[in-house]
């Protein structure tokens, strides 16, 4: 099976190890991956901050870039939610019929990583080995935007050597919210404090998620507080094996 990787702008810039893990994981599962060098951003930051015209120009760019892809895999729930929930409105308002047609044809082939593994490839056991104590944080966009349900937990349950510790108040936001984290920095920090209390209480070595944005938020606070826990994107856990243990930065 062929798939195109849309790495997302912030994973490309800040979390390349997540991208490398997606490549290792999917190639191990026999997927023929390609990477379009012209890709940049899905437009989420502009859309959520109220810059619709700018968001539209990036949305248009993304649809044109991937219109011939067999599948598009994105290791970020919020970017997938942007495409599914906000592109229709942007194209309705600012696009033309041809663009709307191209979008409608593309959108069923766009997958978040855990959706791609379970729904498209039909695998839960991906051959991963990660001998650590881990807690899973469900990002809001994964939980309520994409309704990922128990897909992430099914995948994590099959990882050998790993102890999964449930996170209390799983449905509660970590307070990141994109530009919310700087426009309402104080409230965002208060929300983070509440979330971090739950996360640290698990006593896990790692907190994982399908969104590096939440993990950047949680991990930034953990590092600030010498909390003794680290964050890791789920792709890196799923890519990890005895021979090739996960790269853990920081």
């Amino acid at each position: 099976m062929r798939a195109s990787l849309f790495i997302t702008c912030y994973n490309d810039t800040l979390f390349p190890e997540t991208g490398r893990a997606v490549v290792a994981l999917l190639e191990r599962l026999g997927v023929e991956l390609d990477f379009h060098p012209a890709q940049t951003c899905c437009g989420q930051m502009h859309a959520n901050t109220g810059f619709r015209a700018e968001a539209f120009s990036q949305a248009k760019r993304l649809v044109r870039l991937y219109r011939d892809s067999e599948n598009v895999v994105i290791p970020s729930s919020s970017c997938v939610a942007m495409i599914r929930d906000q592109y229709p409105g942007l194209f309705e308002e600012l696009g033309n019929e041809q663009l709307r047609g191209e979008f409608r044809a593309l959108v069923p082939r766009v997958y978040e990583l855990s959706e791609f593994l379970i729904d498209r490839l039909g695998v839960e056991e991906v051959g991963a080995y990660f001998p650590h104590r881990v807690t899973y944080h469900a990002s809001c966009h994964g939980l309520r935007g994409l309704n990922l349900g128990d897909r992430p937990l099914k995948l994590l349950a099959k990882v050998r050597g790993m102890e999964l510790v449930p996170l209390p108040n799983l449905e509660r936001c970590c307070g990141f919210g994109g530009t919310f984290s700087v426009k309402n920095g104080d409230v965002s920090s208060a929300m983070l404090a509440v979330k971090l209390e739950d996360v640290l209480q698990t006593g896990a070595e790692f907190c994982t998620a399908l969104d590096n944005s939440c993990l950047m938020h949680l991990g930034g606070a953990m590092h600030r507080q010498f909390a003794g826990m680290r964050t890791i994107h789920m792709a890196q856990i799923l890519a990890s094996t005895e021979q090739m243990p996960a790269e853990v930065a920081g």
């Binding site: 790495i7 490309d12 810039t13 800040l14 979390f15 390349p16 190890e17 490398r20 490549v23 990477f35 060098p37 012209a38 890709q39 940049t40 951003c41 437009g43 930051m45 502009h46 859309a47 959520n48 901050t49 109220g50 810059f51 619709r52 700018e54 120009s57 760019r61 409105g89 809001c140 966009h141 309520r144 935007g145 449905e171 936001c173 307070g175 990141f176 919210g177 994109g178 530009t179 919310f180 984290s181 700087v182 426009k183 309402n184 920095g185 104080d186 409230v187 920090s189 208060a190 929300m191 983070l192 509440v194 950047m216 938020h217 991990g219 606070a221 590092h223 600030r224 930065a249 920081g250």
Partner: protein
Amino acid sequence: MSVAGQPILDPVLAPPFPKAALTVLRDVQLRKNVAHATDVIQAKRARLVAEKPDWQALRASASQIRDEALDNLGSYLEQFEAQCTARGGAVHWAADAAEARAIILGILKEENASEVIKIKTMTSAEIQLNPYLQAAGVKVFETDLAEIILQLGELEPSHIVVPALHVNRSQVREIFARTMGLSDLSDDPQALTAAARHYLRRKFLEIPTAIGGANFLIAETGAVAVVESEGNGRMCLTLPRTLITLAGIEKILPRYNDLEVMLQVLARSATGERMNPYTSLWTGVTPGDGPERFHVLLLDNGRSAIRARERERQTLRCIRCGACLNACPVYRQTGGHAYGSVYPGPIGAILTPQLTGMKHAQSLPYASSLCGVCYEVCPVKINIPEILIDLRAQVTDQERKKAARLFDPMYLGMRVANLLFSRAWLFHWAQWMSRIGSKVFTRKDGWIHSLPGMGGEWTQTRDLRGLPKQTFHAWWKQRKQASR
């Protein structure tokens, strides 16, 4: 506006949300009260929603009923007016808050009323009725327990269903002891309610004029429905000689039977009960039973303008259950006052700016992390995150035309980012520049601990990992070349 020198939750005067929130975040007791209260209500709601296997069907049905009412609002309102008038009620129409206040004062003057008892109504808080009446020489007595606490303690409401949610019982004890002259009052809930009962009983028996709101107006029959928990509403609706009902025009339901759905979703969503304790329904006046004179005041105050906007019309589906407030992680930290409006929380963040024609409260659409839990719990399926984003776009469209925004860091940054994302080579160049530029801020441990400008909002509580040496796309390119 500030009437009679009292502090008022007024979107025109309120400071921006981030600023107002900071004051509240420093109030540890208030945050504890809000978190505790919302956690309790939310858990009750979750339990009762879980026992309804048809909850999603009920939500769908409730939102359809509300849409039907809003899509045909004019004809349903006229039907309500005709039915209510035929049964002895008097219907008044008010375009805005000032007109509504003047009509109500006019009725009170006709009645020679110098005192009035009230059922909790957020619409009266919206039009700032109490300070206006007090200034005109009419004494106003709230009868809902939470409203009594606020009125006697000279506090502001912080929630649309439980307005004194930010006050705990030892604080209630202090207010009652001080204002009712009960120095040995305990903070036992029973003792506190008994004190309130005693205070209220005389008011109910002596004051012949009442002002209330409406949960629903039934177009088909001209009936008004009020749901409540304490029975104070029923006292106000049956004992007085004259009753004035103030209701937003969006409160209409097409048919009496629609209550079957609406009352089920409202009680579960609002207070986590299968059925609220008191549901009052009445139509016009009935000789020898209840008030002799009944007025309904239908208030627009910005609602028609919201209705006219296709995407935002769903805002008016709201039945004021407060479920979105209880579930919201932002509200849980800040409580209601930071929103600078009688309508706080997620629904307030979309309703308040729209009620003021997007002229005020422009920071409210940004007072959300867009986590989506408000939409998930809304019994009438208002897509609050979608509307928040849409209102942000309206604010941006207004603001970006202003010269002052040309070099505003946020607006400038967004324009530059758009340019960078339009060409991969520009984006890659910016990544390289960022890495070089961030070196000066990156410590030996490879992390950034402090940033200037807007980045400082991040680093006030969070570190940022230093930019990695190689971006993903550079790694991919290198790997491809190596495999050739």
